[in-house]
Amino acid sequence: MDQLEKVIIRMSNVSKRYGKMDALSGLTLDVHENEFVFVTGPSGAGKSTMIKLLYLGETATEGEILVDGINLARITRRQIPQLRRKIGVIFQDFKLIPTRTVYQNVALVLEAAGLRPKEMHPLVMSALEWVGIGDRVDEFPPVLSGGEKQRVAVARAMVGNPKIVLADEPTGSLDPDSAARIFMLLQIAHRAGATVVIATHDQQMISSHGGRVVRLEKGCMTPQNQGGRPSC
């Protein structure tokens, strides 16, 4: 049965070097459609680097990455935005635009995808209502609490109905209640059909969910991880 599931992310022998530093070395990993994967490991292990490679925030030094069938090494400039529209990304530092309202922050995704304001409105509102921010759409991010900001970021990541959700330490700077709420939203997204990859060292979150865990250490996959093979 497992074999029949579509591989949505395939990393083969992927390395990323910064100067002489190997942030990732020889990473090989398949993620299937609608999988829920934790990437964990100590600080500096390469978790963020791996996430960046997937949305093309960085390009791999070696190896091959396929995301939804697109080879990232051979992607054209025009295809990059199209790839990114299939992916929702959530960051530890939220990355909201402070000079735009909550509504505009979320709507930007759909604007960039070429939707008309009328088409956008119901989608933006339902995404914001879904994360519980529906009554604060005209406020600016700086006045929101950390948890609220991250909920806006989740709404932004989900509003385009992406196939893949990538989250880099989404709960890293949140209190436990807010963290639990964000995590719950990600689980709902997963149940709705998204493939979710979360980089985190929040052990509690990992154990409470019990999904697949990929462990990195100094840029390598450790032997005890689930799926894939140890790289060094």
Binding site: P81, Q82, R84, K95, I97, R100, L108, A112, G114, R156
Partner: protein, 293 residues
Amino acid sequence: MLMFAVRRALADMASHKFLHTVSIVTIALSVFIVSAFALFFNNATDFLDAWRKGVRVIAYVGGPVKDDQRAFLSETIAKLEGVASVKFISREDAFNDLKEKIGDQSSLLDGLDKNPLPDAYEITLTDAYRELTDIEKLVKKVAALPGVEDVEYAQKWLLRFNGMYNLFKATGMVLASVFFIATLLIIANTIRLIMYSRREEIEIARIIGADEKFIKYPLFIEAVVQGGIGGVTGILMLCLAFAAFVPNFAPETGFAFFEMRFIPMRFGIAIVLCSMLIGWVGCYLSIRKFLTY
């Protein structure tokens, strides 16, 4: 797509009011100075043309002229290149003319027992033959004719004006190119500052799937609008300056055949379009450096 870009460009301009205002004012000043020069040349060219049209070369004949000599000179001068017509003005005619002109004071002339004026030929030039060098060539030829003692035209004055005109023209061109480059740099710099102040936003837009057009269009629109507003403002400033100074100035010059004109509409539009084009190029330059996927 374009509507979005326009909306976002306008919103961005509103949120960077100061930057845009400074930039627009500077562009307006450049345009003002360049178009002031254009105004000057337009008028100076018209002025020279008008003056040349009125140019008459007068050849004075030494001593009384016999009838056959008179006809000979008339014919010879008429055959010279660039001569439209020749009119003989006898010393008597000239004297009577003078008397008439001074009117009441003509008694002053009564004291003269002899007419002091020489016979003369008044030469009118063809339209094609009005360049200063042409006129000088003709003057030399006429002066070399037997019997011609002196040839007169407002030579020095024209020379001086022509020299000044050329000097101004050169200065104007140099200035225009300096301001052209300055405007280009100002716009490029403004766009660069905007991109810098918004680099985070641009980065975020990219991550969520914005393509190049989505990021670039508003910046181009902003630059072109800047150039356009700056251009129009500059022309309006010139318009005001013209309205304020020229009426006080024209009557005193006393050149009845000449009236100061504002730069033609076509020219103004060309300047504004040029300034918008500069905006586009300026934006292109700064974007090429900064925005690479």
